[in-house]
Amino acid sequence: MATHTAAARPIRKKRLIGGDELAKAFTLFFAVLILVVTGTLVYQLWITSSPAKEKFGFGFLASTLWNPVTDEYGALPFIYGTVLTAFLALVISVPLGVGAAIYLSELALPKVSNALTFLVELLAAVPSVIFGLLAIFTLVPAMRDYVQPALQKVFGFSPLFGGPIFGVGYLTAGIILAVMTFPFIISVSREALMAVPREQREAALALGATKWESTWQIVVPFARLGILGSVFLGLARALGETMAVTMVIGNDPAIHASLLSPGYTIAAVIANEFAEASGKMYPSALVELGLVLFALTMLINGLAQLMIVLTTKKGAAKG
């Protein structure tokens, strides 16, 4: 035994110096780099936003003022717009995306499935400004001339669909975000569904389940972690999306009850105003908004992780 380890040691050492050690050092370096970048990001956001933090304190999060003339700023309309548009996007894109993924992985002929999947992946690679242009030239006029008047006719009694019609606004932004998030949801959900072992389906079918029963009661629950993951990926994109949203949300820093009203998101206001923000407090307030967005994303991702942990436990207990 002793002689064996003595003989093995020099060989191992040599090999480590030659390749593994080097590879380890390299990859460690890259891994640490991620930490450094994230750390620098937070540090910079924190330092640059300190004048605004000192002046407004936590009131920044609750204030609806955004007045560069008097140098008074608040984040609430932007937080509201960011969360609301992301929520609307998911309400639309989750059923569509998961439904499409089920069709592609379970029901479609392989040829059709492959062709459609290719198109979906192409859609995911389209730059967001292109979606913004698409929205301006097709979605906005359609919303203004047909969809919003129809919604108002049917649901006009509710403040959610009241007010004048502009074409742009929360709902339009939510729809374009849905279009942008569902390629991710389809693509990742489909992978998750495809990864479900064949035996699961066969067992269900052998027990007399129909194709749909096997899909809905066996395959989808089996793949739910992957599907949830795809939803959170979509959510992350919806929260941080800048260009397409700023083109169709109307850029109005106020909170309106109506989904048809113009609003603003955090990413959009930073993109619009940062380049020309002068003075000390104005850029600092915009950076603090960036910090808020960062925190918001962390919070939502944390909740997502928690939800995954909880549902997995429940699943395990049931199984």
Partner: protein, 336 residues
């Protein structure tokens, strides 16, 4: 392989020595005068190959910011710097007016193809959100013959901070006490109503495709894109169309600029004056340590205020009134 390498190295060397012998100057700021600035700098470079001026059109606010940070040799702005802004710069900047421009209200109202007339009061009401419909009696009073629809007014304004917004809000502050106390004048304000769009092209695009909308853009931009815009009532009670003549008339009739050449010419008196007119400025540090740069900048300014002015009309800008151009030339001597 070796030969191409040597050739490449030689080309690189030539590039560097060329750059070193030329005087390179960097500026940044307002987008509205950018087309004529680019033309001036290119023409000046063609005539004086030793001087190369790079200009980045990043907006008036950005120009002031970069000048304050000292990252550029000069700034440019559609809004004169305030005393606090001037005090924040290490070396006191001098204001050099370059050309004149106007801001127009462009609209898209089905049934009213041309000839809309607006008074300052009504414009302030529309942008305050107190005048909500096109057939409001106040708008009707100015447009008795027009067939104004019973529709909500869609207000479109800039979402980014902009010299154009400054000129517009400065005007509204002068004609409406309510606007002055509630909103004020700045490159970015808390707009009481309306859809925000980025850049003049954003505002123009939104107005073009949204029925019953109104927005403001630079005169030059509206003229180039053949957009319809409203006649504005001036301080003498006359409705005036925005043209390069009416903008120049406003400059000539206004009480003029202060001794630092700062000041606003909105709502100028005179029957022919267009009320939404403005100067635009180059912001030059009053002390330039580098002798070569100082020489290049002062000579360019001399050229700009004489020969350069002749190009203005060709590019649809209004040149400085001759008297002003002459006074500004005297300021060049203050650059130490």
């Amino acid at each position: 392989m070796k030969n191409t390498l040597i050739a490449g190295a030689a080309a690189l060397a030539a590039l560097f020595t060329g750059a070193a012998s030329a005087q390179s100057i960097t500026g940044a700021g307002a987008t509205f005068p950018a087309p004529i600035y680019q033309k001036w700098f290119a023409d000046y470079h063609a005539a004086h190959s030793g001087v190369q001026i790079n200009y980045q059109a990043i907006g008036s606010g950005g120009g002031i910011k970069q000048l304050t940070d000292g990252t550029v040799d000069f700034g440019a702005s559609d809004k004169p710097m305030s005393d606090t802004e001037v005090a924040a710069v290490k070396v006191k900047p001098l204001h050099f007016p370059t050309v004149l421009g106007g801001v127009v209200l462009t609209y898209n109202v089905p049934g009213v193809e041309t000839g809309l007339q607006l008074s300052g009061d009504v414009v302030a009401g529309i942008f305050m959100g107190t005048i909500k419909k096109w057939n409001d009696p106040k708008i009707k009073a100015d447009n008795k013959k027009a067939n104004l629809p019973d529709k909500d007014i869609v207000v479109v304004r800039r979402s980014d901070s902009s010299g154009t917004s400054f000129v517009f809000t400065d005007y509204l502050s002068q004609v409406s006490p309510e606007w002055k106390s509630k909103v004020g004048a700045a490159t970015a304000v808390q707009w009481p109503t309306g859809l925000g769009q980025k850049g003049s092209d954003g505002v123009a695009g939104m107005v073009k495709q949204t029925p019953n909308s109104i927005g403001y853009v630079e005169l030059l931009f509206a003229a180039q894109n053949k957009m319809t815009f409203a006649d504005l009532k001036n301080a003498s009670g006359k409705y005036v169309k925005a043209t390069f003549e009416s903008v120049t008339a406003a400059a000539a009739a206004s009480k003029g600029l202060d001794k630092d050449f700062r000041g606003s010419i909105v709502n100028a008196p005179g029957a022919k004056s267009y009320p939404l007119s403005t100067y635009t400025w180059l912001l030059i540090p009053s002390q330039i340590a580098d002798a070569g740069k100082k020489k290049a900048i002062t000579e360019f300014l001399k050229w700009m205020l004489t020969d350069g002015q002749k190009q203005a009309e060709g590019l649809s800008y209004a040149p400085l009134p001759a008297a002003v151009a002459k006074q500004v030339q005297a300021q060049i001597a203050l650059i130490k």
